[in-house]
Amino acid sequence: MIQKIDLDLPKDQVADALRKQALRRTIHSLKKSDFDRLATNLKEFGVHIQV
């Protein structure tokens, strides 16, 4: 199940939320708190995670 978002976020905002200054490899493990921070940022742009 895929929820389409298609949104550009400032890199620093993404890096701070995910606690990852770079995302170079294919797949990265995230903590729930990291994902939740990004979801909160997305909500500010009107995007609600619903998966």
């Binding site: 929820q3 890199k11 995910l18 998966v51």
Partner: protein, 298 residues
């Protein structure tokens, strides 16, 4: 009059920092935190927005405590508000106005392809039109109504800008793991996002491997990678094997953020494609020219 197609957000930030009064009429309002803070600092602020609270963020509107807020419903007799107009009175007493396509949103100010013009009262050629724009705003403001932010929050909280099919009922899920997956090939830069969406799968590459990575040991997988990708160093093969293993071991109900990768010194925004919930097991798909051999049905 000056025309702007780039750096509109930076220009607006610079002018807001010098503004003592502001009159804004925009269809959509969800500015960046920095822009919102500058607006909060303007003592005399009048803002008119469209009553489309699935997008307009009432929590940000609420922060404009001293502002005079007005809204216009989409079914207004005079038509819905579609204008994007910023009128600022600067410290020197002059007026500066921006008109164009850019909404007061992060995307409108900083990401989208927008086109705007600026007119200034201290430019003799613009003085008359600045007066006309101010008059237009005054009329618009008078015709608008005070928004009910409590109702707006209910709408904002309950409706997403992007709609997803309802989630299936889940059985007891003991442990959900979270992941970020790049949807773009590191070697070619090709985006696999369109395929993800079209086929409702997520996937990783290494499609030249002839074995099923879910049915071999880590050592066998590393050996296969080194045998297939002969330009890989031992470390690169280990890294690739670890990446494939992580993907193979995704569990049903895991949540996967799908985005472009980024580097530590990158200035460009990061594109968030979407979010996936794993609803099926890993499988190998062979013979695809579009993507790797490892895919997880969604």
């Amino acid at each position: 009059m000056k025309f702007f197609k780039k750096h509109i957000g930076e220009l607006v930030l610079e002018k807001l920092d010098k503004a003592v009064e502001a009159c804004l009429a925009v269809a959509f309002f969800s500015p960046s935190d920095r822009m919102l803070n500058l607006l909060v600092g303007i003592k005399k602020l009048r803002l008119v927005i469209s009553e489309e609270f699935t997008i307009n963020n009432p929590y940000k509107l609420e922060k404009l405590r001293t502002a005079a807020l007005r809204s216009i419903p989409p079914d207004c007799d005079n038509g819905k508000l579609h204008a994007k107009v910023l009128i600022l009175k600067l410290r020197d007493g002059s007026y500066w106005a921006l008109l164009g396509s850019a909404n007061l949103t992060q995307q409108g100010m900083f990401s989208n392809q927008e086109a705007c013009v600026v007119v200034e009262s201290n430019d003799a050629a613009d003085a008359t039109i600045v007066l006309e724009i101010r008059g237009w705003f005054d009329s618009l403001f008078q015709s608008a109504q005070v928004p009910n932010l409590d109702e707006a929050k209910l709408i904002f909280d309950s409706q997403a800008q992007y709609v997803l099919v309802p989630k299936p009922p889940l059985k007891a899920v003991p442990d959900i793991h979270y992941w970020a997956l790049k949807a773009t090939s590191g070697s070619t830069g090709k985006s696999h996002w369109p395929m993800f969406l079209a086929e409702s799968v997520i996937a990783v590459g290494w499609n030249d491997l002839s074995l099923d990575p879910s049915k071999v040991t880590d050592a066998q997988l590393r050996a296969a990678i080194r045998g297939t990708y002969r330009n890989y160093s031992a470390r690169e093969a280990d890294v690739a094997a670890a990446q494939i293993s992580k993907f193979v071991n995704l569990k049903v109900s895991d949540i996967v953020l799908l985005c472009r990768g980024y580097t530590s010194n990158q200035k460009k925004d990061v594109h968030i494609h979407g979010v996936a919930r794993v609803i099926g097991p890993f499988r190998v798909r062979r013979g695809s020219k579009r993507n790797g051999n490892s895919s997880t049905p969604q």
